[in-house]
Amino acid sequence: MLEELSVFKRISRAAAQRRDACRAPGSVSLRLSAAPLRRCVSLLLCLLCFSACKREQRQFTTPPATFKSYDVTMSDIRPGVGGLPMPVQNPADQHAFDTNEGKRLFTQYNCSGCHFNGGGGIGPPLMDEKWIYGDRPENIYSTIVEGRPNGMPSFRQKIPDGQVQQLVAYVRSMSGQLRKDVAPTRNDSMNARRSEQRTERKTPQQTTAPPQ
């Protein structure tokens, strides 16, 4: 016990001596330059942690309507004066949560019943570059809401506005139109194709409906 005490005393004395050595005139400049640098780095690291806060907030209430289906035009020809309406930004395009909800709804609302996971079958494929009724978010929105000839039903009032926007975002992610950090990642089940996140961006092209 007593011996242990003396050992402890010796250690603490040695530490004190080392502390004094650091305070020697020669080492002053070294200490001054190192301390602010270290402080700066640690401050930056702390700020880095906070930078991720609120990057993406989930909104569960229905957002205000962004699209109006009568805004949509399929060609440059327009009656009356005034130019084309401004292209509309889909807010769901910016949120990974929304695109993933779109993916869930795509399965649950049985879009795959005709579009076959985007590969196309009864309905046209969604993962290629061809668009019959427009590739803009507002075009896809009105396609879902209004329906299209030869099979696409109208989902007006059947799917709430917010969910249509999520579906629009997901449909665009299938041909790689969205940012990589927003597009859905691989499926929970087996993947029939590359995940939306790994899909190459395809340049949209206007095309006509295949002859029936």
């Binding site: 989930r58 229905t62 059947k158 709430p160």
Partner: protein, 345 residues
């Protein structure tokens, strides 16, 4: 002054005792068993609790005694390097006997735990009882009653009726993520895992209502993913099942007919099914007999007119993040819809 200083600790002690007793009884309590499985588990729990409490108290007494003994020793005395052989032997015996007792206790626990575990096992006779398929969704329970007679198969949600004294076999599935089925009064936990079927059997010996809850964190509304088990005598259960196997009652009054139209022409029909009508989706709970259920929203709210209307209008205020969207219905439409849903007994 003395009176008050005495009464406050006494009050606190009484409150503490009352708090302990308050957890006895109740519809969601593992030490208030209502069936053989839960009784087994609670016996094991009491054995471990009592033995560990005794050991804990003894250890604390030993610690306090040793502290007291140390303070009585003179501080300035030179420590004895070589203890006398007599006391050394005594100490060694104490250590050996305590270690032996510890090992014996652990073996008692091991055997008790093993035999409890064995008694929870699924036996062949259990397979002949009632069979229920339980699927966990974010954040509700889909309940499907299986039967050899296909006309007796039906689907309901969040409220499971079982006959008293009959073993019920549950096959557990997960639809999206891992959930866990736990009705503390009746049985232990069992996980619902996507892509795998787990089985558990429960039996209620006393009629009553027992509350179960998801016991594996499964997302935003894990806390509000509960269910009720209603254990009732066989005749009552048969009557209930007879009603559940029927198709939905037809809308009778004008308001109910309007409500049905609202159901079919709005978002409801995209996710919910009402047997006997064209509504056949299986994303949300089956609403064929929603009026007969005690609770809505996975045992979140009592099934009253007000709650139902508020839930349909904006369920996100009660369960933020749940998969049911807000519905912007006019007041008249909402009233009619609630009227119709309540009529689905």
């Amino acid at each position: 002054m003395i009176e008050t200083t005495r009464t406050i600790p006494r009050l606190i002690a009484t409150l503490a005792v009352a708090l302990c007793v308050s957890s006895c009884g109740g519809i969601q309590n593992a030490i208030n068993p209502a069936g053989p499985n839960a009784a087994n588990i609670s016996r094991l729990w009491w054995l471990m609790f009592i033995v560990c409490s005794i050991v804990f108290v003894l250890v604390m007494i030993a610690v306090l005694l040793s502290l007291r003994k140390r303070t009585t020793e003179a501080a300035d005395r030179v420590p004895i390097i070589e203890p006398p052989a007599e006391s050394e032997r005594r100490r060694r015996n104490v250590v050996i006997s305590l270690t032996t007792i510890t090992i014996v206790i652990l073996f008692v626990f091991l055997i008790a735990s093993y035999s409890s575990g064995r008694s929870l096992r699924l036996n062949d006779p259990m397979r002949n009882g009632l069979s229920i398929e339980l699927t966990g969704h974010q954040w509700w329970w889909e309940v499907r009653y299986n039967d050899v007679d296909a006309s007796n198969i039906f689907t309901t949600a969040n409220e499971i009726h079982i006959p008293v004294g009959v073993p019920v076999l549950f096959s557990l599935r997960g639809a999206d993520v891992i959930h866990s089925f736990w009705v503390p009064n009746l049985a232990g936990k069992k996980d619902l895992i996507p892509g795998k079927i787990n089985t558990i059997w429960i039996q209620a010996d006393k009629p009553g209502v027992y509350r179960g809850q998801c016991a594996e964190y499964c997302g935003l509304q894990h806390a509000k993913m509960a269910l009720w088990i209603v254990a009732e005598p066989q005749e009552q259960f048969n009557a209930w099942r007879q009603n559940q196997t029927q198709e939905a009652v037809a809308a009778a009054s004008d308001a109910q007919k309007r409500g049905q139209q609202v159901f079919f022409s709005s978002t409801c029909v995209m996710c919910h099914a009402i047997n006997g009508t064209p509504a056949g989706s299986n994303i949300g709970p089956n609403l064929t007999h929603v009026g007969s259920r005690h609770m809505i929203g996975a045992a979140t709210l009592a099934n009253t007119r007000d709650h139902l209307a508020q839930w349909i209008k904006d369920s996100q205020t009660f369960k933020p993040g749940n998969k049911m969207p807000q519905n912007n219905l006019s007041d008249a439409d909402l009233q009619a819809l609630v009227e119709y849903l309540q009529s689905l007994q």
